[in-house]
């Protein structure tokens, strides 16, 4: 009975966090829309979803890793490498299917290396993936010989422009996948394992969760998401430079944190991370509509990240203090009753 109560309490707290992020997103859109109503036009909203696709896909993957209490900053390079490899395959006349397989293969391999290093060699995930960030980036440079990959076939570039019922096809697919993964992490037994590991590793081991396997799985999922993002990048942009996706890992982590995912693990949801991703990517276009020069972008997103996270932590700390006090009071009352009887 008590467990059920705790569970429902937990879900309301997560809902509360996401609610705050959604509220922020709506306020952002409304304020910018008030200043310049073109921002809320269907054309711009269409563009906003299209631009945020890349970030949403990567934020979904990142949430898995962050939930287990680890971090992965190699994804920017994975995006670049998978985009370059699949770009070369497509340019040289290979089929799209082959390119997708190659990209996913790269994601799986990098994810396995990351996961193996973190779980078996016990390297701190930040250091491990920092090393991989550099190694994978150089691999891309070696593979492309330092050249840009250009002249992708137009049939491939067209994929990112296709729309069904007025909605971008890729956006529709990503949306459906996002909802499925969100429900998987929230409701299924195996999905809950990821958060359980991040919340309390020792507890997870005692309950019998294969911690190492799930951590490796999280890294693989994250890298595959990054390589899929690489495909989307190649399709949207049409050419791949040697620095494609560099620095994007920090934006994605910031997006996930904005969406209420905790870096210490155990807290967060796919929905929140995706909304964070939309916020991070729409700050850019919001500035354009507010007629603020683009060089403000980084300063604004940095200060937003700090302010939101600090306020969020202070609020949740106060809440947890209050619940602790209530719990303590209840325990004392119980104890007194027991003594009396």
């Amino acid at each position: 009975m008590k467990e059920v109560k705790n569970m429902s309490k937990l879900t309301t707290i997560t809902k509360y966090r996401e609610f705050r992020t959604i509220l922020f997103l709506v306020i952002l859109f409304l304020i910018v829309g008030l200043v310049n109503s073109d921002f809320l036009s269907s054309g711009n909203l269409y563009n906003a979803t299209k631009n945020s696709l890349l970030y949403i896909v990567m934020a979904i993957g990142m949430t898995f890793v962050l939930l287990t209490g680890e971090i992965d900053i190699s994804i920017g390079s994975v995006l670049g490498l998978s985009a370059a490899v699949s770009g070369v395959i497509l340019r040289d006349g290979g089929s799209i299917f082959l390119a997708v397989i190659a990209a996913i293969g790269i994601g799986v391999v990098v994810g396995l290396i990351n996961g193996f290093g973190v779980t078996k060699l016990k390297i701190s995930s930040f250091i491990m993936t920092l090393g991989m960030l550099e190694i994978v980036r150089v691999t891309q440079v070696i593979f492309t010989n330092g050249q840009w990959v250009e002249n992708l076939p137009s049939s491939f570039k067209h994929i990112s422009q296709m729309s069904v019922l007025g909605i971008n096809l890729l956006a529709l697919i990503v949306l459906v996948i996002m909802i499925f993964v969100h429900l998987f992490l929230l409701n299924s037994k195996k999905g809950r394992y990821f958060a359980a590991i991040g919340d309390n590793v020792d507890g997870a081991v005692l309950v019998g969760i294969p911690v190492a396997r799930f951590k490796i799985m999280a890294f693989v999922i994250n890298s595959v998401c990054a390589s899929i993002a690489g495909l989307i990048f190649a399709s949207q942009v049409g050419f791949i430079s040697t620095t494609a996706g560099s620095g994007i890992e920090m934006t994605v982590i910031a997006a996930a944190v904005l969406g209420g995912v905790s870096l210490s693990g155990g807290i967060g949801s796919i929905l929140g991370a995706s909304i964070g991703a939309i916020i991070m990517s729409s700050i850019n276009s919001a500035l354009v509509f507010l007629k603020v020069p683009a060089f403000w972008n980084s300063a604004i997103s940095g200060s937003l990240l700090i302010i939101i996270v600090v306020v969020d932590t202070l609020i949740s700390r106060r809440n947890s203090k209050r619940t602790k006090k209530e719990r303590l009071n209840a325990r004392i009352l119980n104890y007194q009753e027991e003594v009396r009887s």
Binding site: K122, S124, L130, T139, M250, W296, A299, G302, I306
Partner: protein, 335 residues
């Protein structure tokens, strides 16, 4: 535990000597002492920041904003000296203080709100490089060319020589001495270790561990400011994107130097040796004919392999811990 630190430093020293011998055999010019000393110019900024990021990591935190503080201080120096028209030395001093302020903001937020250091310094990284871009944008200077035209004296700060020794080597040694004395020879240094090993124990023994934590970030910010000024002097121009790719080499130097990323253990000497190793590795590979863009492969592998090797002791320790827990199981768990 204290016995282990010199051991790793010996390994580093041996690596350094082996590196010098091997690269010298490949290209005898590598043995030219002037070339070696001059190469300090290329990594003195990384080393200076790494010394004080070691402090941060020993307390159990992390600081990834150093690279963008370099860009910010570089821009501040350039703007104050060339656009505002201030004396270059006071401009440089103010720039270093700005670096310290950035560190103070990081430190206060991390120590007093207890948000993870990673998140705050990630936000700080975006914020400080963003402020640098904003400053450049407002002043109307070109983003790509940067602000140049510094006086001869200021350029000489990093490029000059004293008794045949490049200034950058002297800066390296002076900062190393300051960091060494602070960390290994003062009570403050012991407090830093205690904060990293067990913050609660520190609190109970009457140390204001939050103040200690915050102060390490200030030191790290100040050192990034100094690195920014020196880099500006060395390259003769100030740009917002200076130091943007310093994150990886800084952390490589700290971690390769034997400092545990989880805190509580490490030292400045190891960091210094490691930063020289990484710097010479780059130089040697370049002289051996390896293209600059491939060198990341070597440093990446160096980072992972060194941590994996150090992890050997960790794994042993965790096995030991597991065994002792098993011995106690039964009685104590039920109690």
């Amino acid at each position: 535990m204290l016995k282990k630190i010199p051991k790793w430093n010996l390994v580093l020293l041996a690596t350094l000597i082996a590196e010098i011998v091997i690269f010298g055999l490949i290209n005898p010019r590598f043995w030219n002492i002037n070339i070696l000393l001059n190469s300090f110019n290329d990594f003195v900024g990384i080393a200076i920041i790494a010394f004080f990021v070691t402090f941060v990591i020993i307390t159990g935190g992390i600081d990834i904003s150093g690279g963008s503080i370099i860009g910010l201080t570089s821009v501040v120096t350039g703007l104050l000296a060339q656009v505002v028209g201030m004396n270059i030395w006071s401009a440089a001093l103010i720039a270093v203080l700005v670096g310290g302020l950035c560190g103070l903001l990081n430190g206060l937020l991390i120590a007093y709100t207890k948000v993870q250091a990673m998140v705050i310094t990630l936000g700080g990284m975006l914020l400080y490089s963003g402020i640098a871009l904003v400053l450049v944008g407002i002043s109307g200077a070109s983003t790509y060319e940067g602000i140049s035209g510094f006086s001869e004296g200021f350029i000489n700060l990093a490029n000059g020589k004293l008794f045949g020794i490049p200034h950058s080597v002297l800066v390296f040694v002076v900062m190393l001495l300051i960091a060494y004395i602070l960390l290994h020879r003062t009570r403050y240094g012991r407090y830093i270790y205690l904060t990293g090993i067990n913050q609660n124990a520190g609190e109970y023994s009457g140390i204001d561990t939050r103040k200690i934590m915050a102060s390490t970030y200030v030191l790290s910010g100040l050192s990034a400011g100094i690195a920014g000024v020196i880099l500006t002097s060395y390259l003769g121009s100030s740009r917002a994107d200076f130091g943007a790719e310093y994150l990886m080499p800084i952390l490589t130097a700290v971690v390769l130097g034997g400092t545990l990323i989880t805190g509580g253990k490490g030292g400045v000497i190891g960091t210094a040796l490691a930063s020289i190793i990484v710097g010479f590795l780059k130089l040697g590979l370049q002289m051996g004919g390896v293209q600059t863009q491939y060198i990341g492969l070597a440093t990446g592998f160096l980072l992972i392999i060194s941590v994996a090797l150090m992890g050997g002791q960790e794994v042993k320790a965790s096995i030991k811990r597991l065994l002792t827990i098993k011995k106690d199981r039964g009685g104590s768990l039920n109690a």
